[in-house]
Symmetry: C2
Subunit: 215 residues, 2 copies
């Protein structure tokens, strides 16, 4: 496949293409035109063609896309053709919820360790994964090749733990703590700030109501 700079906006749309193509595949659809995909995804057909052309174009004019091929190619671009060893630091409700997502494992994200500071969780297992105390983190990182760490802990502890994770060789952090992590540039951080998402919702709800009152 051709290698070129792909814009962040395109990359952001890829998981959604991947999801729709996966559903088509599940439904036994073998080929789809950009127009049909456009109807389903509520994105313009020209946007779809443009986006997919970034990767050399997977379709032929008037012939449509091979769903299975496109699904797998996008999967490869997204790095889903590999498996990742994942740990979860913070084994509260959210950490346990994430550990329970079987779907992540199917996509290649294998949770192999969970950590917390709450001694009441010692020995507890979530989907077979033992919850360890945080003082076992560094030896665990030394013994296991961990690519991704999920941070589901209070923001007061997040930065300190993140620094340790990076020392231990972790190169990617999925951060649910409500803080921005200042880490070396070669560490990938993906933030999920739930309260910011909730604020977007209340902003949109409020501004719709303001519009309504104006009418």
């Amino acid at each position: 496949m051709e290698e070129k700079e792909i814009s962040r906006a395109v990359i952001k749309r890829l998981p959604r293409y991947y999801r729709y193509l996966g559903e088509l595949l599940d439904n036994g659809v073998e080929r789809i035109s950009s127009n049909e995909l456009s109807d389903r995804m509520q994105v313009t057909a020209s946007q779809i063609r443009q986006d997919l052309n970034n990767f050399g174009g997977f379709g032929q004019q008037g012939y449509g896309y091979n769903v299975k091929y496109l699904y797998h190619e996008i999967g490869k671009i997204l790095g889903l053709d590999k498996t990742y060893n994942v740990i979860i630091v913070g084994a509260g409700n959210l950490g346990q919820a994430l550990a329970n997502y079987v779907r992540f494992e199917k996509r290649g994200f294998r949770v192999i360790g969970m950590f917390d500071v709450n001694t009441q969780l010692i020995g507890k297992k979530v989907r077979g994964i033992e919850i360890r105390m945080l003082d076992e983190l560094m030896p665990f990182l030394a013994e296991n090749d961990i690519q991704i760490a999920t941070l589901t802990l209070p923001k007061s502890a997040a930065e300190e733990v993140a620094v340790k994770l990076v020392e231990g060789g972790v190169k990617a952090i999925w951060n649910f703590a409500h803080t921005d992590l200042n880490l070396p540039e070669d560490v990938v951080v993906e933030n999920v700030h739930l309260s910011e998402s909730l604020m977007q919702l209340s902003y949109n709800l409020t501004s719709r109501q303001r519009e309504k009152h104006k009418k």
Copy 2:
């Protein structure tokens, strides 16, 4: 305050301003210049000035921003000066995790009902909130003024439940189900697609490694 069209990009940055200003407030900081705020937030000072000018500008040249005032004004823009009645549909791990976030309640998002189809959850309470069965949803909506519904259920059930919620008068949905909801235009939907976030992470991790190998 002046009312004008504010770009989506600006709106997306507001919760982050709100968070930083809240932290400054907690630390007793009364005034801050756009340069100081810029250092902390790693956004350019001119970006900050430009963003805040959208709301009439809260600062005076050479004098900085009044932290408390700015915090409250941004809060108002985000709709955080009101309280919202929230229900959670899907009382599994993730739903329970969200119900347990005391911080949401502090911001005015009061969870007053939880629903599930799992009969094992009947009578269970999370932070004092009773888990009800889904067949009680419509009467509950009729009796209570619910502004926001959180969907933390499998995607197979999400659309059907969302339609019911809208019938019941809910105007905003915080959607964690891994599907796009097709709802009337006046319903606000905010999606949290966790697996898409994880795919962004694996994309970034993979592309960094590709770059490394090239060097």
